[in-house]
């Protein structure tokens, strides 16, 4: 278990992270979401020990790690940094051999790992000829060296096209049996992978919880789209205005009503009693809308 207690980070006058508490359970997948500059990378760098917090502590399995503990922790850690130019002159196999020696893990398992990330056929080709997606697979493969129990991935799908994102997420699904901390500003794409979402904004945790908990926490309005029946005499808008304590907009022959989560049931029950309603469609706010609203 990783626990952050009152962790903050300052760069001179800039407060990249305001004091925050966070607990990541063993085997949990945590998605860290936020706009660029919200403190995601600072948080992840502190998590992997690349950066010291300006205040607070990072506890690994309940204690502040010393030098030797950090070494042990790092052997059980896989990290994918946000920006990296891999060694263009080396092949994928030689790159992984280099990192395996640094980690002190068995290089004999590299062929299996390359197979796992779909690079077995290209293992002996220089990285200079690799596509962005293939380089991300090499990056993921180095993070998986030694079968770490914790994976920290900083913007792993950044720069990938939709096909590349799909392939990368499929790979991640195969390594699900471990703790994963995953940052992205495109988290809606990967929200189904994670157990909890931590929304950062201006260095603070704005929301933390499951997708459902975030919806409840934020109480964003539900959009009810009503198609009036042909014989509707035009009084429907007035009736809806009386029924809903929210905005009612008539547009292109449809009526759109924004209703709060708390008012939703009362509104729908009332809607059943109204005449002139041909069809009703309910749109829940998307996770992206929820997160953008928050961050």
């Amino acid at each position: 278990m990783i626990r952050l207690e009152g962790v903050s980070k300052r760069f001179g006058a800039i407060e990249a992270l305001k004091p925050l508490d966070l607990q990541i359970e063993d085997g949990e997948w945590l998605g860290v979401f936020g706009r660029n500059g919200c403190g995601k990378t600072s948080l992840l760098r502190i998590l992997v020990g690349l950066s010291r917090p300006s205040s607070g502590e990072v506890l690994i399995d309940g204690k502040v790690p010393g030098d030797e503990d950090w070494r042990r922790f790092r052997r059980s850690l896989g990290f994918m940094p946000e920006r990296i130019s891999m060694f263009e002159n080396l092949t994928a196999e030689k790159t992984l051999r280099y990192f395996a020696r640094l980690k002190g893990t068995d290089p004999g398992k590299i062929p299996v790992l390359l197979e796992r990330v779909g690079l077995a056929a290209a293992a002996k080709r220089r990285l200079a000829g690799y596509s962005k997606g293939m380089l991300q697979r090499v990056n993921l493969a180095q993070a998986l060296l030694g079968d770490p129990r914790i994976l920290v991935l900083d913007e792993p799908i950044e720069g990938l096209d939709s096909h590349g994102v799909g392939e990368f997420l499929d790979l991640l699904r195969e390594v699900k049996d471990r703790t994963v901390v995953f940052s992205s500003h495109r988290l809606p794409l990967v929200s189904r992978l994670v157990d909890r979402i931590c929304v950062l904004s201006d260095g603070s945790v704005k929301a933390l919880g499951t997708e459902d908990e975030l919806h409840r926490h934020l109480d964003l309005p539900v959009r009810v789209i009503i198609h009036p029946s042909p014989d509707s005499n035009g009084s429907l808008v007035e009736q809806l205005n009386e029924l809903a304590a929210a905005s009612v907009v008539s547009r292109n022959g449809r009526i759109v009503v924004n209703v709060s989560q708390r008012e939703k049931m009362r509104f729908l029950v009332g809607l059943e009693r109204l005449r002139g309603v041909h069809d009703v469609r309910i749109e829940e706010p998307s996770l992206e809308e929820v997160l953008l609203e928050t961050s």
Binding site: F11, R45, R52, W70, R71, P81, R83, I84, Y98, L102
Partner: protein
């Protein structure tokens, strides 16, 4: 044992990267061609073309080394650390069970090996040719080569310091070239200016001490003191009081070790403060 493995793994990777660098081999060939040219054409101004006496050849090669070896070392090391940080590789490696000290030492050792191979590749063929043609003493030439390596390592350590203090590769190269110009040209010119301005007023011991402030001059003094054939002091070394060889060796070693220790300290401090680059 594990720590030594890490240092050696990083050193081998750096060595391999440096040896792929065409610039290193270009300078190495330049040193080779220049030293052979000096050996054959060194006496042209006095009407003799051909291999000259071994003493003059040794002195010429020593002078060539003072100009080219610091340049090779400084430009080679200009991208050390800073390039890896820019590429994101430094962050990745330090997320492994690797300390900043192990990374720093491994990188430096790799550079030292690469520089040594480049210098040996240019100096050894020259030495063989000169041994056959002008009969230079192999033992003395080997001693000169050892001092050349020491000079290179001292300037390599300075280049690491410059790299860590610089914000990007371009500035690091520019600062390295500036340091080279000061060490190889400006420093001695300033001292000559002082001698001319205050004739007879500066004691030779004080003057000798001033020469120790420049590793290029320490190398010259060591060559004059240690390598017999090059013992016809030229330039400013004639003004300085004679030095003990062990003391000069200690000073050249200090020129390699102190910048390295300071740069490691700065590297560690900047990493912990997230101020590197």
């Amino acid at each position: 044992m594990r720590r030594a493995d890490v240092v050696w793994t990083i050193a081998k990777k750096e060595l391999s990267d440096r040896l792929r660098n065409h610039w290193v081999w270009t300078v190495s060939v330049l040193v080779l061609v220049s030293s052979l040219a000096i050996a054959f054409l060194g006496s042209a101004p006095v009407g003799v073309v051909g291999v000259t006496g071994s003493g003059a050849v040794m002195a010429s090669i020593m002078n060539l080394s003072v100009y080219l070896v610091p340049l090779l070392a400084l430009v080679m090391g200009a991208g050390a650390i800073i390039d890896e940080k820019k590429r994101g590789v430094l962050d990745l490696i330090l997320s492994y069970p690797v300390s900043s000290g192990e990374y720093f030492l491994g990188t430096f050792v790799g550079y030292v090996f690469a520089l040594s191979i480049a210098l040996i590749a240019s100096f050894v063929p020259t030495g063989v040719v000169l041994h056959w043609t002008s009969g230079i003493d192999i033992r003395e030439y080997s001693l000169l080569l050892a001092l050349v390596l020491g000079l290179g390592v001292a300037f390599l350590a300075l280049s690491f310091l410059i790299s860590i203090l610089s914000r990007d590769h371009g500035r690091s190269v520019a600062s390295s070239v500036l340091v080279w110009i000061v060490a190889v040209f400006v420093f001695d010119l300033v001292l000559v200016g002082v001698l001319v301005a205050y004739p007879g007023e500066i004691p030779t011991s004080a003057f000798g001490a001033l020469l120790l402030l420049n590793p290029a001059d320490v190398f010259r003094l060591l060559c004059f003191s240690w390598v017999g054939s090059a013992a016809s002091p030229l330039g400013l070394a004639t003004v300085a009081a004679p030095f003990n060889v062990a003391a000069l060796t200690a000073v050249l070693t200090a020129w390699a070790v102190l910048p390295l220790l300071v740069s490691h300290r700065l590297f560690h401090r900047r990493l912990s403060m997230d101020k590197l680059v």
